[in-house]
Symmetry: C2
Subunit: 214 residues, 2 copies
Amino acid sequence: MTATPATCDRILDAAERLFAEEGFYATSLRQITQAAEANLAAVNYHFGSKQALILAVFRRRLDALNKARLARLDQAQEGNAAPELEDVLEALIVPALAFTHGSADDGHRFMRILMRAFADRDDQLHRALSAEYAHVMRRFASAIATALPGLSERRLRRQLDFIVGALTYTMAESTSSDAREIADDLVQFAAAGLRSAVSVRHPDGAPRTLEIHS
Amino acid sequence: MTATPATCDRILDAAERLFAEEGFYATSLRQITQAAEANLAAVNYHFGSKQALILAVFRRRLDALNKARLARLDQAQEGNAAPELEDVLEALIVPALAFTHGSADDGHRFMRILMRAFADRDDQLHRALSAEYAHVMRRFASAIATALPGLSERRLRRQLDFIVGALTYTMAESTSSDAREIADDLVQFAAAGLRSAVSVRHPDGAPRTLEIHS
DNA sequence: GTATGATTGAAACAGTTGTTTTAATCGTGC
DNA sequence: GCACGATTAAAACAACTGTTTCAATCATAC
């Protein structure tokens, strides 16, 4: 449409890039507005405060990512047959890594800030994000539970933490070139880990045996 | 010894706590010195700069953690027999989670800052930490390679990223109460994921089979 | 006891931060 | 053409930042 996007979007773009490069608090509004070719007061005018700007940057991306994940999960579940474990994991993982892989370095950069946000545990930013994540994670947890019965809710939650941790770390760490291959590896890795968890836990020191379940 | 520790250590303790609570850049030297009951100038006098203080906080903990990990790996390797995969993973994981579990909330808090540091990818802090990690990770990578042959170096590296990601995320997320149980779960999870990776990669859509290796 | 070096205390420095304010400008509907 | 709300511009604000300075204090060795 317009040759240059509206001021609001230019600010969001510049903020996302600079946040990823410098961090939230190391990035000043003056840097952002200068990079966005906007006036300093514009960010307070449009967003209200710097904190609100940060949240807006996150929402824009997370809405898209979670929508893509849930759409893929819906698709896997649409035949009334329950999807296989790998299909659920792919719905969780592939959109995330495809997003990392996405046009230019946008996604990759964004995931670096996402990790940063996870580290900021106790402030309002993390709480707002967790609320958004909680909804998605609950659906995935129950989808996994039906695909792989026999795990207590507590342990399932923990295994999901393992997977989300591996995913988040990988997204922040890996170059964007081979996203599909990494996603396949991670799905396989996560599925094997989950399946091993439904086996009876090995006694300490004893040689481990794998039990294959139905 | 002395009733109150030396100023240097009081500053390190206060800085670690505040960094975990507020973040590096949101924490001012005035907060730190006030909490440490030291003078503002003390931190520049003893450490040189704020950046050097941050590095000192990290070194103190990482030295201890990596030493513990390598000691446990040494012990597992000391009989000339190569240790089992689970033993290698335990050397990597258990000290880290035990550290999280450690006295009070120190370790748990510290790991939150560690994640923060990983997010700060491109500055000197991360480079200094990576150099320290690289040494340890190389030893663990080769120990895993002998315990579980058949993985290309590239894929092994990637699997290790999965594991470190799961570990780091879990350390930052979990409460410190049940560290041993979580460690057991994660070792089992990681071992199963690794073993599944040496199997031939499954063709898309085909039903997956588990191959049990020696 | 006194001299010497390490440490601390309090204040000041120069610079940057997020936010607010006021005036100027732009776009649109009448 | 004009008026009115939305947007932008530029400057000022008050507060806070890391760092430096310089005198006061402390501990220790002689």
